[in-house]
């Protein structure tokens, strides 16, 4: 409600069971006040269930939800200082835009709501649309009404359930910027549920990546991208090359890995495990290609004996597939700077990259986790 000190949203030990299905497992999550927080994951990962538990639309099987000092776990939805922007908006079709936006204020018995509603409609640039019905508005406009209807109540936390899922790509980009602007302007905590990693990266201050009812990793977009904690995060956020390797030695700052017969070093803080079999990961744009036999300066990781098997020219960059002697294909993105002639299929190449761009993950994990989900990132979920 208005004029309260913004407070953190804290979920502790939250789990949710449907029948025998475990939708959310022992979730601990702190959403800092005033931040744009994204819950990212494929459909069915429990992110929407988590959101609905915060909204009060589902009751957690175990655990508690607190908003600052207040425990809201058992509170009915209409008593929570939390509002939701629903997937597909859920605008009231029997009310015009003005009445849709005024709904929350009316229910709270606020008498002089007209100036507030007008102001809110102006904020979302729909000042002239008050008299229209939701069905007379475009998808983007409906989306903004849904946002206005929730924001006008000045909730402590605004929940957004795939708010941009129904919009086309261009409009989605616009609304991403718009949402971020509004969030900065009003300073309310936003919790945004999405399956679109690009959307989460563009808008969120902090992202929690969910998979199978668990949080895989949480951090800023740059942290997650730079140093994924699991193979799922490595594959779901952008793309990764994961190569089987074995740890063979350790210095005070680095681990030494054996990658199919070649030695590779990785800084210790970038390793999730320090002995045994591992996945060595490297992002496609961090790998450089050189003609076979080219000598690299010391301290650079190198793999030799690659053969270019596919070249896709994308304009700003070129995407290569390179087969290594152990029959694994790596993806490499190269900016088209013009510094070197483009490679063609069949060229012999060596690969090299900075040790500080390498990451090491537990070999127990599935190297393909999160891969398939990237393909349908544009679909609804």
């Amino acid at each position: 409600m208005p004029e309260t000190i913004p407070s953190d949203l804290v979920l502790s030990g939250i789990s949710k069971q449907y029948g025998g299905q475990q939708a959310v497992m022992q979730l601990d999550l702190t959403v800092p006040a005033g931040k744009f927080f994204a819950l990212l994951g494929p459909s069915g990962c429990g992110k929407t269930t988590t959101l609905r538990m915060v909204a009060g639309l589902e009751e957690p099987s175990t655990g508690s939800i607190r908003l600052g000092e207040q425990d809201i776990t058992g509170l009915r939805p209409y008593k929570r200082p939390v509002n939701t922007v629903f997937q597909n908006y859920a605008l009231f079709p029997h009310l015009n835009i003005f009445e849709n936006v005024a709904f929350g204020l009316r229910r709270r018995g606020i008498k002089n709501f007209k100036p507030q509603v007008d102001e809110m409609l102006d904020l979302v640039e729909l000042g002239a649309f008050g008299k229209r019905r939701p069905s007379q508005l475009s998808g983007g406009q409906q989306q903004r009404v849904a946002l206005a209807r929730a924001l006008i109540n000045q909730p402590q936390v605004l929940l957004l359930d795939e708010p941009l899922g129904a919009l086309d790509l261009k409009l989605r980009r616009q609304m991403q910027i718009e949402l971020k602007r509004i969030q900065t302007e009003v300073g309310i905590t936003f919790v945004h549920v999405t399956h679109d990693q690009e959307e989460a990266m563009t808008m969120a201050d902090t992202i929690a990546v969910m998979n199978g009812g668990l949080i895989e990793q949480q951090g800023s977009p740059a942290e997650l991208y730079d140093l994924p904690a699991t193979t799922f995060v490595a594959n779901f956020l952008g793309q990764s090359n994961l190569i089987r390797a074995t740890i063979i030695g350790q210095s005070d700052q680095n681990l030494v890995l054996d990658v199919h017969g070649r030695k590779v070093t990785v800084p210790l803080p970038r390793c999730r495990v320090t002995e045994g079999d591992v996945w060595m990961g490297i992002r496609p744009e961090k790998v450089f290609l050189a003609k076979a036999g080219t000598e690299q300066s010391n301290g650079v990781n190198q793999l030799r004996g690659g053969v270019v098997t596919d070249v896709s020219y994308v304009g700003v960059s070129t995407q290569y597939l390179v087969r290594l002697p152990w029959d694994q294909e790596l993806t490499i993105f190269e900016q088209n700077t013009g510094a070197r002639d483009a490679l063609v299929v069949g060229d012999q190449v060596d690969l090299h990259w900075q040790p500080s761009h390498t990451f090491v993950l537990d070999a127990e994990q599935d190297a393909l986790a999160g891969v398939e989900d990237v393909d349908d990132a544009g679909g609804a979920g």
């Binding site: 909204a55 939805p77 209409y78 859920a90 709904f103 229910r107 709270r108």
Partner: protein, 300 residues
């Protein structure tokens, strides 16, 4: 150049025209069978009915009627049958109200709360239609009869006096009507409630409306098309019904349908026709006013 242009522009025109008239002919052909049927079995009888009002009032089937433009038949009929006429509308109104009171919660439960029982419950609502309307009303007569177990029981627990009856009362007639027309209320209500996006109800809760307020401000307004359809489907046939009044009531409960039926059987065509047409006109006027006032055009 211009000649060629003109040629190009005009040449295909006749073909388009031919195609369009061909399409229109198909539409007329499709309308033909149904149209003929309605003309023969609806329009002709209706005109006959309208004409019959103005026949010689003291004619009979044996002596013939003859058109005498006897406008006074209208006035006479209304003067003689104002009470059953008003009673019909009153019973129909009561029936509609009871159907709505019983039907709304039922339809709501089936549409929103029933879960996997939904289809079974719907089937149970429709189940009475497997038996004829007449048979079902006759069983009500048996059920409410003076020697029936219902009356026995109510007399034993002293809710009814020793001479108390259920049959042959206004309550029996309205109960029978309510029973018979309840499915016509429940089904359209169910259809409109079931169509409501559950997220709208959640959105109400999310925006500080408690369960009752959400019902009043979201669910009920969105189900108005069902309420309108259900009340019309109940009120209209109930106003014209005569089976319930005949089987469950006495002459004191007789409705306009009973009189019309009796008058037709007795050969008093002009009066019967006048009453029929008046009932029809009254219902049309009431329905028009009602639909206008309900204002559900943009929800349907």
């Amino acid at each position: 150049m211009s000649a060629i242009g003109q040629l190009g522009a005009t040449a295909p025109a006749p073909k388009v025209k031919a195609e369009r008239s061909g399409r229109r002919r198909t539409a007329y052909l499709l309308l033909l069978p149904g149209g003929l049927f309605l003309l023969l079995f609806f329009v002709v009888p209706l005109v006959t009915l309208l004409a019959a009002i103005l026949y010689r009032p003291n004619g009979s089937i044996e002596t013939g009627f003859g058109m005498t433009w006897a406008w006074q038949n209208f006035g006479d009929a209304m003067a003689d049958y104002a009470r059953p006429f008003g009673r019909s509308l009153w019973y129909a109104l009561l029936t509609t109200a009871f159907c709505l009171l019983l039907g709304y919660p039922l339809a709501y439960a089936i549409a929103i709360k029933a879960g996997r029982w939904r289809n079974l419950m719907l089937a149970l609502v429709i189940a009475p239609f497997f038996t004829s309307f007449l048979i079902r009303t006759l069983s009500w007569k048996l059920l409410l009869s003076d020697n029936g177990f219902v009356v026995d029981f109510l007399q034993t627990v002293r809710i009814l006096g020793p001479d108390g009856r259920l049959l042959a009362t206004t309550a029996a007639v309205v109960t029978g009507l309510t029973y018979n027309f309840l499915p016509f209320m429940v089904l359209p209500l169910y259809a409109s409630l079931e169509r409501i996006d559950r997220r709208l109800i959640e959105a109400g809760g999310d925006l500080f409306a408690g369960p009752f307020t959400t019902f009043r401000t979201v669910t009920l307004p969105l189900s108005m098309p069902g309420v309108v359809a259900g009340t019309l489907l109940t009120f209209i046939p109930a106003a014209g019904d005569y089976i319930n009044a005949q089987l469950l009531g006495t002459p004191k409960q007789r409705m306009i349908g009973n009189d019309i039926q009796r008058l037709f059987a007795a050969g008093a065509y002009p009066t019967a026709a006048a009453l029929s047409v008046t009932l029809m006109a009254a219902i049309v006027v009431l329905v028009l006013i009602y639909v206008r006032r309900a204002g559900t055009e943009d929800l349907v």
